[in-house]
């Protein structure tokens, strides 16, 4: 004869399951954030290069070109730092 037992939830199992779901969601959120950070970083890299190259046809004098080229380089370095940070956070 088959005896059917009523289902009783194990509180400890529920806590573990809740923890895993929370971890999966927070990992997915963090993963999404790191992807966004890396994408933003690469966009800054390209934008910085665009600024540097744009100084050539747009600005006539050497000091002006130099100032904007350095600014463009700084934007690139910020982008590089963002991309690096995105990869670093992923490991953490």
């Amino acid at each position: 004869m088959i005896e059917i037992q009523p289902f009783t939830a194990d509180p400890a199992a529920i806590r573990v399951l809740r923890g895993r779901v929370f971890f999966a969601l927070s990992f997915r959120r963090q993963s999404h954030r790191t992807h966004q950070m890396k994408l933003a970083g690469f966009l800054l890299l390209v934008s910085g290069w665009g600024i540097v190259v744009a100084t050539l046809p747009l600005l006539p004098s050497l000091p002006a070109r130099a100032a904007f080229a350095l600014a463009g380089m700084a934007v690139e370095l910020i982008g590089l730092a963002l991309v690096g940070r995105g990869h670093w956070v992923q490991k953490g």
């Binding site: 540097v52 190259v53 050539l56 046809p57 080229a69």
Partner: protein
């Protein structure tokens, strides 16, 4: 800047002999990468070096040279603010129409075929022990067939970077005779992209980000590779000076002296820095320092005076030791061969040293800006392009092997046989995983 349209037969023959030394640099680089990896992947790294060079050479000949071209040959122009920006060559595929004799164009082709192999082998230093052979060949195909020829055209085939002097009054334009930017920084940035894509080796970092030391399995190979690389670099820098900077053949002596002094100063600086930091010199870091000196000499060896070559090398040697530490400890980038520090960081320093230390920068206020624009192009254009292409490859053919294969070692996983079958070499075989 244009290559000479005519070389005397003696000069052309000398140039050919110098170019034929460049494969020795490839051999040296392969030995360095192999020695710095673990024994379980040694055969794989060496074989990957061979395959990568083969793929790079073929891809370059089939399609790369058609994008890079040579000075004085057909090209595509973009007109921006009334000036024509030479941005891409218009050569036919498969070297059609190019006579392979002692002409400058054919010598440039030969040099570039070897140089692209050097550039393509650099990322292997960062991706060793976990980079699949197939994915590395795919990445190399794109590097040699597109990215490298595009930037090399801008620098060496009368492209817009080399014309910054004539178009916008920035000194001599972007100067890079031996390929510090075009070969070394490009290879180093590709190595960075691969390190980001692959992630660190298993067991390299603990859960709180502390790195574990994974020492080189054979430092003798590393240091022997450095000596071979030195011979190859003498050829690379000298041929580049003749073909790309219009130097007289007598300038080869100055180039050779500067290349050697730069490597020597970088190596000795690495000895001193590691001795001060760790109590004893570190052989693998000294090898990396030596290589950094060679890399830094590539841009300006034709223009430096010997004392400034020593200074350039010393700075490169110190930079690379500190950079390796920073990347590994602070930024958690696992780079077994030190490729990013040796090639990208030292190469960028080499490009800037043209303006800061050499005769090329001395008489011109715009030279440093031209070098900065070249460096900015490498970081802001070449790196995103390379990383984007590697990301696309990863979607189709994942770069990284699985965990079990990585633990076994790339030799057994991909080649079916180890490099040292007579020895039990895995110290972690008997520890619980």
């Amino acid at each position: 800047m244009a290559a000479p349209t005519f070389l005397s037969e003696a000069s052309a023959t000398l140039c050919l002999v110098l170019i034929l030394l460049v494969p020795v640099a490839c051999a040296g680089l392969a030995l360095v990468n192999t020695g710095l990896s673990r024994s379980r992947s040694a055969a794989h790294v060496m074989m990957a070096s061979l395959c990568i060079f083969a793929v790079a050479a073929i891809a370059y000949v089939v399609v790369g040279f058609s994008w890079q071209g040579a000075p004085g040959r057909p090209a595509h122009f973009l007109t921006i603010a009334g000036k024509g920006w030479n941005w891409l060559a218009a050569e036919p595929l498969f070297l059609r129409g190019l006579r392979l004799d002692l002409s400058p164009a054919s010598l440039i082709l030969l040099l570039q075929m070897f140089s692209v192999g050097v550039a393509a082998m650099i990322p292997l230093g960062a991706g060793a022990e976990r980079w699949k052979l197939g994915a590395s060949c795919a990445s190399t195909t794109l590097l040699a067939g597109w990215t490298y020829p595009l930037f090399a055209h801008w620098v060496w085939s009368e492209g817009w970077l080399s014309q910054l002097g004539s178009m916008y009054g920035l000194g001599r334009g972007f100067v890079d005779s031996g390929g510090a930017g075009t070969i070394q920084v490009m290879g180093g940035l590709s190595a960075l992209s691969i390190a980001w894509t692959l992630g660190p080796r298993r067991g390299k970092y603990s859960s709180d980000g502390e790195p574990a030391a994974i020492p080189a399995h054979n430092v003798v190979l590393v240091l022997a590779g450095c000596l071979l690389a030195w011979v190859g670099w003498l050829g690379l820098n000298s041929a580049g000076a003749i073909l790309f900077n219009h130097c007289e053949t007598s300038a080869v002596v100055l180039v050779a002296v500067n290349t050697t002094l730069s490597a020597a100063a970088a190596g000795m600086t690495a000895v001193i820095v590691t001795r001060l930091r760790f109590g004893r010199p570190d052989a693998s870091l000294v090898g990396n320092g030596w290589m950094a000196g060679l890399v830094a000499s590539s841009a300006a060896s034709a223009f430096l005076k010997p004392p400034t070559a020593i200074l350039a090398g010393a700075v490169a040697g110190a930079l690379v030791v500190l950079s390796i530490e920073l990347l590994e400890f602070r930024f958690t980038i696992d780079d077994p061969g030190g490729a990013i520090s040796v090639h990208a960081i030292a190469g960028l320093w080499g490009l800037l040293s043209v303006a800061l230390l050499s005769d090329a920068g001395a008489g011109s206020s715009g030279q440093w800006l031209a070098q900065l624009i070249g460096a900015a192009t490498l970081i802001g254009f070449v790196l995103p392009l390379t990383h984007g292409l590697n990301w696309l490859i990863d979607r189709v053919c994942p770069h990284r092997v699985d965990a079990e294969a990585e633990w076994q070692g790339m030799d057994l996983c991909e080649l079916g046989a180890g490099a040292y079958p007579e020895f039990v070499v895995h110290s972690d075989e008997f520890t619980q995983r």
